[in-house]
Assembly symmetry: C2
Amino acid sequence: MTAAEEQPGSAAHVLELVANGSAASRADLVRELGLAASTVSARVQELVDAGLLAEDGEGASRGGRRPRRLRVPASGAVALAADLGSHHIRTGAVGLTGAAFDVEERAHDLTAGPEPAVEAIVGRLADLAERQRAAGRPVRGVGIGFPGPVDPATGRIVAPARMPGWHLYELRATLADRLGLPVVVDNDANALALGEHRAAHASLRHLVVVKAGRGIGSGVVSHGRIYRGARGSAGDISHVRVDAADGRPCSCGNVGCLETVASGAAIAAALRADGIAADSAADILRLVEHCEPRATTLVRQAGRHIGAVLSVVVNFFNPEAVVLGGALSGAEPLVAAVRGVLYERCLPMATSELTITAASGGPDAGLTGAGLAALQSAAPAP
Amino acid sequence: MTAAEEQPGSAAHVLELVANGSAASRADLVRELGLAASTVSARVQELVDAGLLAEDGEGASRGGRRPRRLRVPASGAVALAADLGSHHIRTGAVGLTGAAFDVEERAHDLTAGPEPAVEAIVGRLADLAERQRAAGRPVRGVGIGFPGPVDPATGRIVAPARMPGWHLYELRATLADRLGLPVVVDNDANALALGEHRAAHASLRHLVVVKAGRGIGSGVVSHGRIYRGARGSAGDISHVRVDAADGRPCSCGNVGCLETVASGAAIAAALRADGIAADSAADILRLVEHCEPRATTLVRQAGRHIGAVLSVVVNFFNPEAVVLGGALSGAEPLVAAVRGVLYERCLPMATSELTITAASGGPDAGLTGAGLAALQSAAPAP
DNA sequence: CCACTTCCTTCGGGCATCGAAGGAAGTGAC
DNA sequence: GTCACTTCCTTCGATGCCCGAAGGAAGTGG
């Protein structure tokens, strides 16, 4: 029932099923994987021998012998992860279960260019690596979520809006070099999508995860994996033209983009124009929670615009769920507006079994996703 | 370089590579598949023994021994195919190469309900089967392209607009029963997408094929295969709301859908309202070719509306190509308008290597796709 | 306590693929 | 012409993955 990874019954796949709770015993794995019991047993044995999996007492009987429960050992491997925002760097260690340890967020202005950002990231992650190793957890790799387009094959940043100096920056190579670990760099929305998929929707095959914060991004899960499209830019909904934004110049160089009316940055700017102090998405959220009417109106409007664009996506892509993440997804009016527009505009066939929900993975979902991506790409062999 | 089918080196895959011209010898197959030469040889031998593949003289040397050329034998298996339109039934036999034989189109009003349509289809296909068998070509199955939503798992028609009596009709089961052959039923746009992909864009992985005729549909190829989404309704762009259609009631029960301003039916209705006789998409095409200004304007406008919707799709899905098919794609102004809007509105990253083109598979592309789908689903073993 | 279920392992065997080795046929330099 | 080299394809073990049968261990429920 869970996302396929690589081969249907590979070691990595087994590990994932145990880590995310889909399977807690060999018998569960047999049911999930559809492989012969002997095959599963052999694979589990390998993983136990390699220290990547541990037996952990017995589970409840289902009418026969009790299963021997499996779990990922506490001393299991971790990946270091960093979730980069335009104004912060969030770091942490992510285990195979998707749990994040030792999470820390610091303010940092990414627009100041790549060098200071790399210094900050390397500093934080090197400390983190040391602490993890001291705690007996081997560090397998590094995952980075970057708030802009990333070429997934090379780990290079491509033409990010509003971040001069980053274009074609070799972020993966640089970090790999500095940290001496394999590094995976992906778009932040893709990281969030991966994290949400694993944390809350592991059984779904087709999923759209929207990250609504200062900017707007989306990550697409198709057939249980991140879908990137031809050039790696799939999931962009930020620069779709909407009529309500007619003529407004966008950071992408075009005019009338969704981002210019529905992003956190746009809402904050509109509030400031009305003399209401607001800078970040968190500020907006606070205003909405305090029932500031102007903020609520703007957020609801943003939700309607996002919903209008998503209605095309839902009809076209026919996902099983639309998950709203990012700071603004904490605002109920936004979620309600998106829901309303989608149910009103989309085909009944596309919405009849569609889940529309705010992200449930918490503030670490993006971090988790970046870490899981790194763990996944690192070979599970010891 | 070609679409993956099932296992990377299955018999069906080998057959497909030879059929579509990607490989003409065992050595080519080795290069395409990345398998060991011995493995490929064994698989080819099986297919030759089964009569599904034949040796055909020798090819050109590449500096060593000449390869023994492989081809699909003329007496190879075919599938019967039917491409259903709201007002016609087109039938033919499709070989593994994607060539269609014995094609015939008859007028038939599908809105009259399923029973007369089934009679017409069975009549035509039974004749066709007899002729093919007489010519020594075994008939492996039947593929149907239906102009409405199809549940791909069951081959049932689901809630087609404007076609009372078809809802939940068991088209696959009925035809399989009547013809005594395995039947595949799919949406006509999906069939067209499959046909176009094989005929002209076999090396592309992500592709959107729009069918613009009396209605508007689209078929999506992702990772080289038809993408269906959660409920099989993926690819719908017809019922996206566009502002220019504000308030117009649509056959789907909603208002303001793309279909109400950009479909062949809508254009024809607008022309009739202006006193210009037009009924079918073919009529519109004729008017455009005769430079009737009103028709040209309407078609260009339709292209802009379709382009606006596709711009969302292109940003989100990031395909390698957008292919415009269906009768209206023969109108240059429509293609030009779609191109213009896409290049204007989409992200440079999404369009920089995007191909936007009219379908090249000819009028039989949909038929071919339906037939290929049937051949593909029928096991290649004899 | 006895039949039945579930869980898991051991063992032999099937099947697909691989790589090495080599034969057949061709090219091109000398 | 001939000799080295290339390409094409086949034959023949060897290997590795997976399966199913058989069976032991442990529990449940009548």
